[in-house]
Symmetry: C3
Subunit: 117 residues, 3 copies
């Protein structure tokens, strides 16, 4: 199965799996979930940066993103602030955001992306 | 990075991003969110038609779709009605639907697709 | 459109659609939704096995997975138990799990994957 390459990231069961030049990433969440939404988004994106580097790509090569928030009413604007500071608009992936509860009850944000490699 | 092509659609931060013959689209929502579910699904699909055309493809070449509804109990059947009028069964993408709250509180439906280009 | 291959699986509107060696699957849910979470995850995965076989691949070639649970607080651990019995760790896809309501109110779990073919 040499056409599929799997990496173990530091995102728990979330893996990075590569096929035909596209990397699929598992959900990335903050490790310290005592932090507020700004802290958790910052941590999740830093973790994602490391996962992207692990497979030989970076945030300028994102294709798609889903962003899940525990409380989109209160946290959407702050998440966007941190996102906009992290990524230049010309590198934006196709993105969609929704409110949903995640596996850990104190998890405020989870970020799921695909990227070109 | 000529292997990634990015388009700015009229879907806010949602972009269309193309890689290896697959276009990833951001979430498409209705512009006039005073409309009911039928109106919002109709508008979102019309907007998606324009985004698909922008990247040189169309609704007969969809690969996957996620449909998010604010109230799946009341709106799932109507969404399916509009969807079925829009797309011939032989062109159906791999689809999944869920209830979740989206960024704008008056948003009743958001549609996220990939398509072949 | 010979570059897109569409299969009708037994997953209702969910199709399997193949493009460039990647198969996109619609959401897989249990047929007997009187069952508890363990039963529904087992059924959904068995159905997914059949859909994977239909397009000429299998569970060792999954790329990405989203798992939606009606009640992630009570059902996440049991879902993981069944998942772990089903799939060897070295074959794990990039995965993310969220709580959301699905189209059928008695649906406890829905599984959406992509796979290499």
């Amino acid at each position: 199965m040499s056409d599929i390459v799997r990496f173990t990231t530091n995102a728990g069961r979330g893996r990075a799996v590569i096929r035909n030049g596209i990397a699929f990433f598992g959900g990335h969440v903050a490790d310290d979930r005592t932090q507020d939404i700004r802290g958790q988004v910052t941590q999740a994106l830093a973790k994602l940066d490391r996962s992207l580097a692990l497979v030989g790509t970076d945030k300028t090569r994102l294709l798609s993103a889903q962003i899940w928030l525990k409380d989109i009413t209160s946290d959407f604007a702050i998440m966007n602030d941190v996102w906009d500071a992290w990524l230049s608009p010309e590198d934006f992936p196709a993105r969609a955001s929704a409110q949903c509860l995640m596996g850990a009850p104190d998890c405020l944000v989870e970020i799921i992306v695909t990227a070109a490699v």
